[in-house]
């Protein structure tokens, strides 16, 4: 029904205006507009509004600072995909790379290439270790389980581990960077004794689980289990798993700081 106040075809007129209709439907609506003053007026208003918006409304492009920050985070952390369920890579790194390029543009080619190479050589980690890490983290949050030695001085924590385990875990205090060391814990995971280092980031706790590993170093890989973010990497003959309820960006920041800390 069409009157001067309303017309039940007006949403179709709008769809026509937005280029959503095929030629036949569109032609029918052109005819309709000739006889419907309401829809004729609606078309004119749609057109005015579009002109005003496209000419006047601010388009908030991403700042260069944001672009650089994202790029740096991904490159520094050697970001690779979350592997919730390992599967044959159908999309593949080519798809990811193409998408990432379309996302950040081509100005960052070198960094993008670095990320791509890291991803190509990155093996899919076995899911069961990540599950064990997650369970260990949750268990540590139970009352009385978090630390065996509570100290925010790495020079107390380090000797405490001596003689209790057959390796020397790398212990760093990141208090100056906003992640104070809370203490250490002797734990058991995957049939071996491991060292757990506990850090605090604001209201959040971070467990860094460490044990010896053979083989090459591996760049950090982000995973997620049960809402916890996990970053796994390998360096200096140690395998390391950082887990926390910190958000992705903050945990990546923590790991980047930890790795670059002397």
């Amino acid at each position: 029904m069409s009157t001067r106040e309303n017309c039940d075809k007006v949403l179709l007129v709008q769809a026509d205006f937005d280029g959503e209709l095929d030629a036949q439907q569109s032609a029918a609506l052109v005819t309709h507009r000739e006889t419907c003053p309401y829809c004729r007026e609606a078309w004119a208003q749609l057109s005015d509004t579009r002109n005003a918006l496209r000419r006047g409304a601010t388009y908030h492009s991403a700042s260069d600072a944001l672009r650089r920050r994202l790029d740096r985070q991904l490159a520094v952390a050697g970001m690779v995909p979350v592997v919730t369920h390992p599967r044959p890579s159908a999309t593949g790194t080519g798809g990811l790379l193409a998408w990432w390029r379309s996302l950040v543009g081509f100005g960052l080619g070198a960094a993008v290439a670095t990320v791509a190479v890291l991803m190509l050589i990155q093996p899919v980690p076995s899911g069961d270790i990540a599950d064990l890490v997650m369970e260990n983290h949750i268990r540590s949050l139970q009352p009385g389980h978090l630390v065996d030695i509570a100290s925010n001085n790495q020079h107390n924590v380090k000797p405490w581990f001596d003689g209790k385990i057959d390796f020397a875990p790398p212990i760093k205090n990141l208090a100056d960077q906003g992640f104070p060391l809370e203490g250490g814990r002797l734990d058991y995971l995957k049939n071996r004794e491991i060292a757990a280092l506990v850090y605090r980031g604001g209201q959040h706790l971070i467990n860094v689980l460490v044990w010896p590993a053979d083989g090459a170093s591996e760049p950090p890989q982000l995973l997620e289990r049960a809402g916890y973010n996990i970053i796994h990497w390998q360096e200096k003959d140690m395998t390391l798993w950082a887990i926390s309820d910190l958000n992705t960006a903050e945990l990546q920041n923590f790991v980047a700081l930890w790795r670059t800390h002397p």
Binding site: E20, Q45, G56, H60, S61, A62, L70, M79, A249
Partner: protein, 163 residues
């Protein structure tokens, strides 16, 4: 470029430059991580959906979603627009005409669920199908929200130029 689209959407949803950058950063890192499990064909819509969800999460966390109604008070509308826009380049401010400031202010005042539709359609030039995917609503909802948004904008700008 998708990054610009992501930022533009977050900025128009949140109306705050710092919040928008935080949301985009978090959402993009997450999207990048999830990408291997993405099986759709439209990566831009998928990304914008993640950004939108993150933005809504941030809004909820910060102050609960409050929807400012259009045209309640024209002066207040102008003030809000200035407040919500503190980080703009001063140079941009100078060269931006009165009419442009006005259209930004009108957009800022639109209820959130209408504003995001009109941003996605008019500034990002997305199809109804893509918008429906991003806001997780049927196409019919997209059509009626777009219509309401445009009518409010059209009425408000007519009213503003008369006064």
């Amino acid at each position: 470029m998708h990054l610009d689209a992501a930022h533009n959407l977050a900025r128009w949803i949140l109306r705050d430059p710092t919040d928008a950058e935080d949301v985009v950063q978090e959402a993009l890192l997450r999207a990048f991580s999830y990408f291997p499990s993405f099986r759709g064909t439209n990566a831009r819509a998928w990304l914008l959906q993640i950004v939108r969800n993150a933005a809504y999460g941030a809004l909820k966390k910060k102050r609960g979603i409050h929807l400012v109604r259009l045209g309640e008070n024209a002066e207040e509308a102008g003030e809000n627009a200035e407040l919500a826009d503190p980080a703009d380049d001063p140079e941009v401010h100078l060269i931006r005409s009165e009419a442009q400031r006005q259209i930004d202010a009108l957009l800022q005042q639109l209820p959130l669920e209408l504003r995001e539709c009109v941003i996605l359609r008019e500034l990002e030039e997305l199809s109804y199908k893509e918008i429906a995917e991003i806001i997780e609503a049927p196409i019919g909802t997209v059509m009626s929200r777009l219509w309401r948004a445009r009518r409010l904008l059209s009425k408000a700008s007519a009213g503003a130029s008369v006064s």
